[in-house]
Symmetry: C2
Subunit: 338 residues, 2 copies
């Protein structure tokens, strides 16, 4: 077990390194933090921390930098979440309050988060699977062509085209629309399949094919996982990384474009609260030298999607976590109101 002072040394190293972006030495440490001991003592502590794998030196006779393990300890034990200041909170609220629709909420959230953290922001669209159905609309575009529009309680709208096997009368359509809505409106997506199971039985034989097809399209839309979209912003902040970074920025940009990777990453964070993944804890190669801070957000008590930030492992964790948490909270409020 590490002594109290060694933990303080580690904390100081992380803070200084995040601030200066340069390996930090024993002398500088004692000057900037009053640890009450001499550089030599700190050197001993550092040596111990290095043996335990919390810090490392890029090359002999350079200062130390934290390892992923070091950051992990820092995040778990040594640092809290820095709360937003009152003006910041007001700014967040003002900025988000202007949103006109769901797309706009997401777009504004991304911009906001990127600006606050000066890093890359990622916001997942409210997921379908946890939401409830607000309304299902059916429109006859042609005698044998129906457009299915699904509206969720989070304001999301999905549409699908259905090519019917047989012409489908306006009356049947109205009937189906009414029956469908009375059964599923307000219900959770997960419950829908069972609720509509026997619906085709209520129709004339000639219409059943079409009804089944509409229903299966609806169910497809509900489960369609790759329809989980997300919005990314603040990629320009990647250039703030290092000086070495042609090498490091590239795979990150590539990973960001592969939304699948990000969705998987967000999905893996089981913790309903905040999750921080650091460096090699992220399976995906190319994000190995980045950290991801993510948290669920949602209207009401339950999280419907995630949002977060991607940045260098050398990031201001307390500040980033504070911003992410605050933004998630306000977005939840906005969604609950609309």
């Amino acid at each position: 077990m590490l002594s109290e002072r060694r933990l303080q040394v580690l904390r100081a190293i992380v803070q200084d390194y995040v601030g200066t972006e340069e390996p930090v030495g024993s002398k500088a440490l004692t000057e900037r933090h009053n640890l009450g001991v001499s550089p030599a003592t700190v050197r001993n502590d550092m040596s111990a921390l290095e043996d335990d794998g919390y810090i490392a030196q890029p090359h002999t006779s350079a200062g130390r930098i934290p390892t992923d393990k070091g950051y992990r300890l820092f995040v778990d034990k040594l640092a809290g979440v820095k709360p937003m200041t009152a003006p910041e909170r007001r700014a967040i609220q003002n900025f988000l309050d202007g949103a006109v629709d769901l797309d706009d909420v997401v777009a504004r959230t991304v911009r906001l988060l990127a600006q606050l953290t000066r890093q890359v922001a990622v916001v997942q669209y409210p997921s379908l699977t946890r939401s409830t159905v607000r309304h299902v609309e059916l429109l006859a575009l042609a005698p044998a062509r129906v457009m299915l529009v699904l509206i969720t309680d989070t304001g999301r709208v999905e549409q699908r085209m259905v090519d019917c096997p047989a012409p489908f009368g306006e009356a049947s359509l109205a009937d189906l629309r009414a029956r469908l809505n009375s059964r599923v409106a307000g219900r959770r997506f997960a419950d829908v399949p069972k609720l509509v199971e026997d619906l085709p039985d209520a129709f004339e034989h000639e219409d059943r094919g079409t009804v089944s097809m509409v229903l299966s399209t609806l169910l497809e839309t509900l489960v369609e996982e790759n329809e989980e979209r997300l919005m990314i912003g603040g990629t320009a902040n990647l250039t703030r990384f290092g000086h070495d970074f042609p090498l490091t920025i590239r795979p990150v940009l590539e990973a960001l474009e592969e939304q699948v990777v990000l969705l998987k990453l967000l999905g893996e964070a089981k913790d309903p609260g905040m999750t921080v993944r650091i460096g090699h804890e992220i399976a995906h190669e190319g994000l190995n030298s980045t950290s991801v801070v993510s948290v669920g957000y949602g209207s009401g008590g339950e999280a419907v999607a995630k949002l977060g930030v991607v940045g260098p492992t050398r990031m201001d964790y307390p500040g980033t976590m504070g911003a992410v948490r605050a933004v998630a909270r306000y977005v939840g409020q906005i969604l609950a109101e609309s």
Copy 2:
């Protein structure tokens, strides 16, 4: 006026520079292209080209690189559009054919264009202002709350919430829905305002406020310019630029996030055909060392939106133009079919 051979020299310089990314000298030129003259002669030609501002040397005793003016001449006079090969065309078609809805078409187009050109691709969503209305749907979510859903002929769906001044009966809603659709379905957006002008008169006095409000929301949605969205992809290709590029990639990423800038840029290209803007021809600082190749696309004869590519001024213009044109053509077909 430049002699034929000098134009050939310019063409050779552009081609070599695009290929090698290094300033090209007189000796290398004569070796790689059989111009039929000696390096000394080429040097004289280069000197003349430099005096006219078509090429420049980064520093004394280095080869020449084309200036923006040089690229302009190259694009206008010296190079054609390189057609896609048959396999490439098949690949484009296959890739786009799998799309399920409008979002998917746009997403696939961006990916495709980025891959083909190995540059940053930009695709504007089919613009509302030039489309026609397919259907307007009204849903009562609460006694005094109506959701307006607008469906366009390009498959785009816009929704807006309307808070009514007074409760609005289901019958009135159905009436309004029917009247509205009979008037505007199939009509161009630009014509809608006049078509619905007198619609409130047909309703009871108590409902007129709500009807007016629904209509004005509809009109707002139609003209809302900042709802012109676009999708961007292939930003990782920016890293292929130079070695110097922490400086150059940053403003480009920033400009790309400012979608306003890109929309303005795409909007400025009046030419219905392909437009190429090179370097300083682009007003926006930060895109000064990039070129933009854009073209309109659309279902049927008319362009409904633009798509294009952003890359370094040092790009393969013929190839890029070929890819952009081909993709635009196929996207148009896809939209016409759906």
